[in-house]
């Protein structure tokens, strides 16, 4: 019965469905086409190798990867706790840790300032005790990106943990597996898809983060000016060529990772 497969009757052609789906696809494709056709192909090499572009791209990659790593290290235990733990206030904790997902990023930036800024209730003692300030630094960028992106990781992984069959862990223990072995050889492989999806989602969100970054970390080329910030500044200074070229780079980088992930995960 397991290998009969799920042979299905072929779906009848639904014109309405096809039209709506086609419109949706075009809705996404047209702006991409706009970017490609509007790009300054004539002098694009000089634009994308300019100091602004190189600095911004470098900062974006370093910051987004760091934020993703932070999400992995701190987000996984949190997801585990939310999925497996039973304690009062669990619903509240889940709500709070996923709040950044629904807040406008700039709100996140303001909140971050009030907590970790130089006059913030955490930031102030931090500065007087260690001299460390987070605003205006790359660390600040990473904090801002982690704040908005980690909830995506937590939600995705928690969902994966919830939906796995925990009795398989019982089976493993009954066969003699220590808790560590159960985790490494049973739990982890079973939640791998949601782990991978969560990581990519988090990284993408961190890469595109703007509002919290510019509010909390500020905007300084070479220090805190990530790609989205550089694009915004050039776009608002009527340097459209630079804005479009940088946008194109960001889109390309994101596309490459999205496609790469699907390949690794198997048949798309």
């Amino acid at each position: 019965m397991a290998h009969e497969g799920t042979a299905r009757e072929k779906q009848p052609f639904n014109p309405l469905l096809a039209v709506l789906a086609a419109l949706a696809a075009l809705f996404f494709i047209f702006p991409l086409i706009g970017l490609i056709t509007g790009a300054p192909w004539g002098h694009i090499i000089s634009v994308i190798t300019s100091e602004t572009a190189v600095q911004a791209l470098g900062l974006s990659i370093v910051a987004s990867l760091s934020s993703t790593a932070i999400a992995l290290v701190f987000g996984f235990p949190l997801a585990w706790l939310l999925a497996r733990g039973s304690f009062r206030g669990k619903g509240l904790l889940r709500g709070l840790t996923t709040l950044p997902m629904v807040l406008p990023p700039v709100v996140g930036g303001i909140a971050l300032l009030l907590a970790y800024g130089r006059k913030g209730f955490i930031g102030k003692p931090l500065e007087s005790a260690t001299g460390i300030t987070l605003p205006f630094t790359l660390a600040g960028v990473i904090v801002a990106e982690s704040f908005v992106a980690m909830p995506f990781f937590v939600i995705t992984v928690e969902s994966g943990l919830r939906s796995m069959n925990r009795r398989l862990e019982d089976a493993a223990r009954s066969l003699g597996a220590s808790r560590r072995t159960v985790f490494l050889r049973v739990t982890l492989p079973l939640i791998w898809p949601s782990l991978a999806a969560g990581t990519v989602l988090t990284w993408a969100r961190a890469l595109g983060e703007f509002g919290a970054t510019i509010t909390f970390a500020g905007n300084l080329p070479g220090v805190t000016q990530t790609m989205p910030l550089a694009i915004y500044i050039s776009q608002s200074s009527n340097m459209t060529d630079e804005a479009i070229a940088l946008s194109l780079i960001l889109v390309l980088v994101s596309l490459v990772v999205m496609i790469f992930r699907r390949d690794r995960a198997g048949a798309g």
């Binding site: 019965m1 397991a2 290998h3 069959n165 009795r167 398989l168 019982d170 089976a171 493993a172 223990r173 009954s174 066969l175 003699g176 597996a177 220590s178 072995t181 050889r185 049973v186 492989p189 079973l190």
Partner: protein
């Protein structure tokens, strides 16, 4: 040898079961749903902590709440074959089977070889590298068996091993399982709701109802003298309770029967449906054991017909199919039941 005294307090159930299983013995555990069969197994494995009692296997105390002793599941030499197999979907058959060995320290190569051997023994050499999703139900069941057997456990627990199989392959797998169990020198507990499994595979039997053991004995003893309506239903016999004085049996629910053999005190009476005669008129010349009831149901079971008669007492009779027309049983209505004293087997409660 297993000496188990399982005491558990769960939300739906209070479980109190004490029993022993000798090495090489197969104990069949029967009972209706919710009676605590699977719970007993989970407790023996160590997945559920005991509230009281003790579990001792081959002289080693595995759990003793009073003395705060609890050996972790992974350290108990016990294997459990789950009702839904619980094969690891991301591992192949041989990896599944080798899992237990590798957990207990065997190196990868040896474990794989042993696993492959066990798979071959169960006629699964063709699916060694297949994942569970690509196997048939019967193959999955045997892989689950192999996985439990390969670790040479001192206690083997089988939770409804044949329940999910197609009827057509059940007989073959039952035979396979019997051979495997015969060769095992571990203590074995087989949980089942199928009496045929218990009779075919079990050396002894325990009947569990609402968390309590209501009957133990060999399958033959239990089926011949059921002490609970659950077993009576399984074996398809009528079970009545009453107080006997001599050959007269006063039934608890009302009515009295004359039996062949004398008895005293609280007594159980078993009557095979085939031993109950039914008729539309009062049986002639029968002073005892005849009473009037009402047809409540007529069941066709293959080439036999069972008639359920509501009355004092209620009784099930078996009649040839022709009788349905003759007596116009489909019309329902009143029906006389009669039992020969010799057809009543009595034994003390």
């Amino acid at each position: 040898m297993l000496e188990a005294d399982i005491q558990l307090r769960l939300s739906r159930l209070d479980l109190n079961a004490a029993f022993t299983v000798a090495a090489g013995e197969v104990l069949a555990l029967l009972g209706p749903n919710g009676s605590g069969k699977s719970t007993t197994l989970r407790a023996l494995v160590g997945l559920l902590p005991l509230a009281g009692g003790r579990v001792v296997l081959d002289g080693t105390v595995l759990e003793d709440p009073a003395k705060r002793v609890k050996v972790a599941p992974e350290k108990r030499p016990i294997a459990l074959m789950f009702q839904d197999y619980l094969l690891f979907p991301h591992m192949s058959a041989v990896e599944n089977v080798a899992f237990g060995l590798r957990c207990r320290g065997t190196d990868k190569k040896t474990a794989r070889e042993k696993a492959a051997q066990t798979l071959a023994r169960l006629d699964l050499a063709g699916v060694t590298d297949a994942k569970p999703g690509a196997m048939s139900g019967g193959q999955q069941q045997r892989v689950a068996m192999a996985r439990a057997l390969v670790t040479d456990p001192r206690l083997l627990l089988l939770d409804e091993p044949l329940a999910a199989l197609d009827v057509s392959i059940k007989t073959n797998v039952r035979r396979l399982l019997r051979d495997v169990l015969r060769q095992s020198n571990a203590a074995n507990i087989l949980v089942t709701h199928d009496l045929l499994d218990a009779v075919a595979l079990g050396d002894r039997m325990i009947v569990l109802e609402h968390g309590q053991i209501v009957q133990t004995g060999t399958p033959a003893e239990v089926t011949a003298r059921p002490r609970s309506s659950y077993v009576a239903d399984l074996t398809g016999v009528n079970l009545l309770r009453g107080k006997a004085s001599g050959t007269m049996l006063e039934l608890d629910g009302g009515g009295r029967l004359m039996c062949a053999g004398p008895a005293t005190g609280p007594t159980l009476a078993v009557i095979a449906p085939a031993g109950v005669a039914v008729s539309r008129q009062r049986p002639e010349g029968k002073e005892w054991n005849a009473w009037l009831g009402k047809v409540s149901a007529v069941d066709l079971m293959g080439d036999r017909v069972r008639v359920h008669v509501d009355g004092t007492p209620a009784i099930t009779a078996e009649v040839p199919p022709a009788a349905v027309d003759e007596l116009r049983l489909d019309d329902g209505g009143e029906l006389w039941a009669y039992v020969e004293p010799a057809a009543i087997t009595t034994y003390p409660q």
